[in-house]
Amino acid sequence: MAASDITLELKSEVEDLLNAYAQCIDDDELEKWPDFFTESCLYRIIPRENHEVGLPTAVMWCDSRGMLEDRVTALRHANVYQVQWYRHLLSNPRILSVDGDTINVQSNYAVFKTCNDGASTVFNVGRYVDVIVRDNGVLKFKERSAIFDTHKITTLMVIPI
């Protein structure tokens, strides 16, 4: 990779993707959430304690756009949980490498959860490790792993990170 591959323009384009993704979830526009991924993709929410010792178990593990859509359908129509909203704070986005149209990116996140009682609590903190590709001119996630530090998941996790 030549350093020149990581242009300011590319950085800003990647950051736009990361921000738009978080906003989509926080604004509860989850039906649009699968659109951030390529048709064949891998989305995982995995505890850091598993990831670090090479154990594969994840809290969510979707390997197709269809599975992402099924998550949303289940959340809207099948699963039972109390009203809740997420607020993502993103930081430290870094392009680690660029290989042709494939961009490897890492960033940090903190997700606050607010339920009907009005208290906002830190629900999940971790990092995203992403493989981003250009799909018909638009940047999309080919792989997105949310590797979380907060191994104590309060009550349940229904909305994607």
Binding site: L55, P56, T57, A58, W61, S64, M67, D70
Partner: protein, 416 residues
């Protein structure tokens, strides 16, 4: 052991069909439980054998709210002890799991050193420094071991007990629970990972939940909608020794008559076809047991649930954190001889279980729903009468008999 105070005893008319809510919201009850149940003659899941594979391997866990470490000694035997230095009470082991190559567990505070068995091996400055200080001459290291936990390794699983009179593990489990335990643990397992769920409710609401097939098709809509499991499916509910139980079912075996009854009730359960999976590979499993059973919820009171749901296998460990909270530790596994294909099926189906499980996430929610609503009203009771009033199982899943068994056993143990 302390005697149960009169004011905590249940009214005469109460019993296994009407339990007073005080058992969930009273601090005295919680303290008594830790003494009579967790420090009593009960077996507790500590680890899968595979979690401590080598000499020097260890894992930190709990019995009730007491921190315990389980280790494998250099003699290959498994040991467990309370994680509290005999000197001044500090935590000896500060990691969740790992391996000590030299087999030494040293407290960081004053470096008192113990072996895997929990025996005290070294005390710094025992004879003083340059003739000054030191422990008294009659100080005997043998008298200052860590508090030991009796362990048994049963079919790849390590159980521990504080009780002096805890029965043999198979006798403790009972015949059917033992059968189903051995069925799921019939060959060496491979650990696939852990997740931890923290639930703001009393731990016994979760115990009830895992003995309650009645709720499965009514609360867990995902399950029912896709025909993974319905109350009308072939299955059974079994009670052993009051508070241990097994629920099992085979999917795809429903009687037409039962299905008609469900249609008449217009339950939201029956929405088959309304939601279709865009990617049905999630449910594409393998029939890995000859008996056709696709669901087993084995509940071993008070701290373990061993489960098979489709091709997912997991230990769920229930760890009380006070009367209002508990942690649920999920340890996921497959078998050592799994094909890559089967392993991948398991990993994908883990979407169904755990804290984000499409068919299990509501169990945390239901626990909190109950806990939120019972504040103060300790003298009121619940109603546990589905399928009669006896604390017994049946040849179907439309029952609360297992929950009645739980409370019958609990009442005896607690002398309520």
């Amino acid at each position: 052991m302390s005697t149960t105070p009169e004011h905590l005893k249940w009214p005469k008319e109460a019993g296994c069909t009407a339990v007073p809510y005080s058992v969930f919201n009273n601090q005295e009850v919680y303290e008594l439980e830790q003494e009579k149940i967790y420090n009593g003659n009960t077996w507790h899941f500590l680890a899968a054998d595979a979690e401590i594979p080598d000499k020097g391997s260890f894992k930190s866990t709990y019995i009730g709210d007491t921190p315990v470490v389980v280790t494998r000694g250099h003699d290959e035997e498994v040991y467990a002890w309370v994680n509290r230095c005999a000197h001044r009470g500090a935590e000896v082991c500060r990691e969740r799991h790992g391996k000590v190559e030299d087999g030494v567990f040293a407290c960081v505070y004053h470096q008192w050193a113990y072996d895997a068995k929990g025996d005290l091996r070294g005390v710094p400055f025992q004879r003083g420094l340059a003739g000054k200080g030191g422990m008294p001459k009659d100080f005997d290291k043998k008298q200052h071991s860590l508090r030991k936990v009796r362990v048994v390794v049963f079919h790849g699983t390590v159980f521990g007990t504080f009780g002096d009179n805890t029965p043999d593990i198979e006798e403790y489990m009972g015949e059917d629970v033992t059968y189903h335990f051995k069925r799921l643990m019939h060959k060496p397992i491979e650990i696939l990972g852990t997740t931890r769920q923290y639930i703001a409710g009393n731990w016994k609401f979760y115990s009830e939940n895992t003995k309650d097939p009645y709720h499965a098709s009514l609360l867990h809509l995902f399950h029912a909608t896709f025909g993974l499991y319905r109350s009308s499916q072939k299955g059974a509910s079994i009670v052993n020794n009051d508070f241990h139980s097994v629920l099992w079912a085979s999917s795809g075996t429903e009687s037409a008559e039962a299905l008609d009854d469900m249609k008449k009730d217009k339950l939201r359960t029956l929405q088959t076809g309304e939601y279709e999976l865009k990617d049905p590979s999630l449910l594409k499993g393998q029939q890995e047991f000859d008996d056709g059973i696709t669901l087993v919820i084995l509940s071993l009171f008070p701290s373990l649930v061993l489960q098979q749901i489709q091709n997912t296998l997991a230990f769920r460990q229930i760890l009380p954190k006070g009367k209002d909270e508990f942690e649920l530790v999920w340890t996921y596994f497959g078998y050592k001889d799994d094909t890559e294909e089967l392993r991948n099926i398991r990993l994908k189906q883990f979407n169904l279980i755990g804290p984000g499980g499409l068919i299990s996430m509501e169990d945390g929610e239901s626990t909190e729903l109950c806990h939120n609503a019972i504040i103060r009203d300790g003298k009121y009771t619940n109603v546990i009468q589905m399928d009669g009033k006896e604390p017994v199982g049946n040849d179907h899943l439309v029952t609360e008999g297992l929950i009645r068994g739980l409370w019958k056993g609990y009442q005896k143990l607690m002398a309520f």
